[in-house]
């Protein structure tokens, strides 16, 4: 395996009971690459991305992240996870902690930063997503879009080298989508590896080094955004992209 490889997914199969949700997934993400995953609802995008930091357990195949194979050894997984950030589709904010605490808790416990430093980093990112004034509110007091922005800030605070985004702009308005997009572009410029599930095609076009199209638990097609969007090879991809109203 190349040292330039950030994530290597090889022959991964996964079942929920009798239902096979991932079918022989092969995907290599090099360091610094930005991969966008798209595909119809229920195609297994969230499942795949969640397998990449072992929030889901795959039954067959191997997943290697930053040179560490994901097995059931907790020590290893924790090591991998502290370097892989994740923004969940359902945000998964901690309702009993304030926005600021949501952003500092892992810095303090995992990165062992001093309180002052953690707060400073958190406030930087909260400002970047335009909600510094909500720092002392609880997640339950925020609008959907505000919650999503906190989730993004929380993950970035950990200064990961790989970020996994699961529809990070779904609850955002166009203005905020642009802001988040800009943030991600600057992270990309700093060389961060990103895997992002999204249906913002403009987003894919501007940021992605490659776009992966999934359907029915399989990777149907993978290519640079330009080629995939303008000249998809597969019938299924064509049909999907054809529905894009834009």
């Amino acid at each position: 395996m190349n040292t330039q490889t950030a994530i290597q997914v090889a022959g991964v199969n996964k079942w929920y009971g009798a239902f096979q949700v991932l079918k022989g997934i092969d995907l290599t993400v090099n360091k610094g690459e930005r991969i966008v995953i798209c595909g119809p609802s229920g195609s297994g995008k969230s499942t795949l991305i969640r397998c990449m930091n072992r929030l889901e357990v795959h039954q067959e195949g191997s997943i290697i992240v930053n040179g560490v194979e994901l097995t059931s050894q907790l020590k290893r997984i924790d090591r991998v996870r502290s370097d892989v950030g994740m923004v969940f589709q359902h945000f998964n904010l901690f309702p009993h902690l304030t926005v600021l605490e949501n952003c500092t808790v892992a810095q303090r416990w995992v990165r062992k930063l001093a309180k002052k430093q953690a707060v400073e980093i958190a406030m930087t990112y909260l400002e970047r997503v335009h909600i510094p004034e909500k720092a002392d509110k609880y997640p339950g007091q925020l609008s959907g879009g505000q919650q999503q922005r906190v989730a993004i800030a929380r993950a970035l605070c950990m200064n990961p080298s790989i970020m996994l985004f699961d529809e990070p702009t779904s609850a955002l308005d166009p203005e905020m989508v642009k802001e988040v997009l800009d943030t991600m572009i600057s992270l990309a410029a700093d060389g961060m590896t990103m895997v992002c599930v999204t249906h913002e095609m403009n987003f894919a076009r501007e940021v992605a080094s490659e776009v992966v199209f999934m359907d029915g638990g399989q990777i149907i097609e993978r290519n640079t955004p330009d080629i995939l969007f303008s000249a998809p090879t597969h019938e299924r991809t064509k049909r999907f992209l054809g529905k894009l109203l834009h």
């Binding site: 929030l55 907790l74 996870r81 359902h90 998964n92 309702p95 892992a106 416990w109 609880y138 993950a155």
Partner: protein, 225 residues
């Protein structure tokens, strides 16, 4: 019929006061230890390892099933027959009661905490795990505070029940609140005054606990209003 002076005398009598202190002291010790160990057992019951789950289930079954009276008698009369060391001076009635009641209380608290832990959604644990937090950090900082919010009223129920259960320790010669009043009644035949005095003590203790409970619930539910 009801003599106020006797009642007041009973309330301020040294034996009743000492009995109350014993009740409170014993209950606090038992509760403190049981909370910690019950938490361990409760998370064992939700563990992925089958053997751990099985062990936790067995423990809960046995010590929820066995009446406190029997566990007390077993610890006090049975253990010294099993081993020399339980005949030594440190094995006082207080310690025996503490041991016996803790064994039981752990089982009850473990059940409550197990379900409270389960009531905290997967998403919370996943959110924390994805940030690289270790299992016990997740437990301590994320799961437990949220679980406690749900569990506190039930835990306080068990604490108050425990206060009452300590009176069983009379079978191992511990003179707590209720025992003292019953003895006093056996000799004086003044039911109303002595039971009244005991009731006052219990109500005062429970009032303090209720206030504490309200306070804890208030703090833990800050994000949910």
């Amino acid at each position: 019929m009801f003599q106020l002076d006797l009642f007041l005398q009973a309330i301020f009598s040294a034996p009743l006061f000492k009995g109350a202190l014993l009740t409170i002291g014993l209950s606090l010790c038992v509760m403190a230890v049981s909370l910690v160990l019950g938490m361990g057992l409760g998370s064992m019951a939700g563990s992925p390892r089958r053997s751990a789950r099985w062990l936790a289930t067995l423990y809960v079954w046995l010590f929820r099933g066995a009446p406190a009276l029997l566990v007390l008698l077993f610890v006090w009369n049975g253990l010294p027959q099993i081993s020399e060391i339980f005949r030594a001076g440190w094995f006082t009635p207080f310690f025996a009661a503490f041991l016996a009641l803790s064994l039981i209380q752990i089982a009850y608290l473990a059940e409550i905490l197990r379900s409270a832990f389960a009531a905290v959604g997967h998403g919370q644990r996943e959110g924390a795990a994805a940030l690289g937090m270790h299992r016990w950090q997740i437990f301590l900082v994320i799961t437990m505070p949220q679980a406690l919010r749900i569990a506190v009223p039930a835990l306080m129920n068990e604490f108050i029940s425990l206060l009452k259960t300590t009176s069983l320790a009379t079978v191992i010669s511990l003179k707590e609140l209720m025992t003292v009043s019953q003895f006093a009644i056996a000799t004086s035949f003044r039911f109303l005054e002595w039971y009244g005095a005991a009731l006052v003590y219990y109500l005062v203790i429970v009032s303090v606990l209720t206030l504490a409970q309200n306070r804890i619930e208030y703090v833990l539910s800050r994000g949910y209003r």
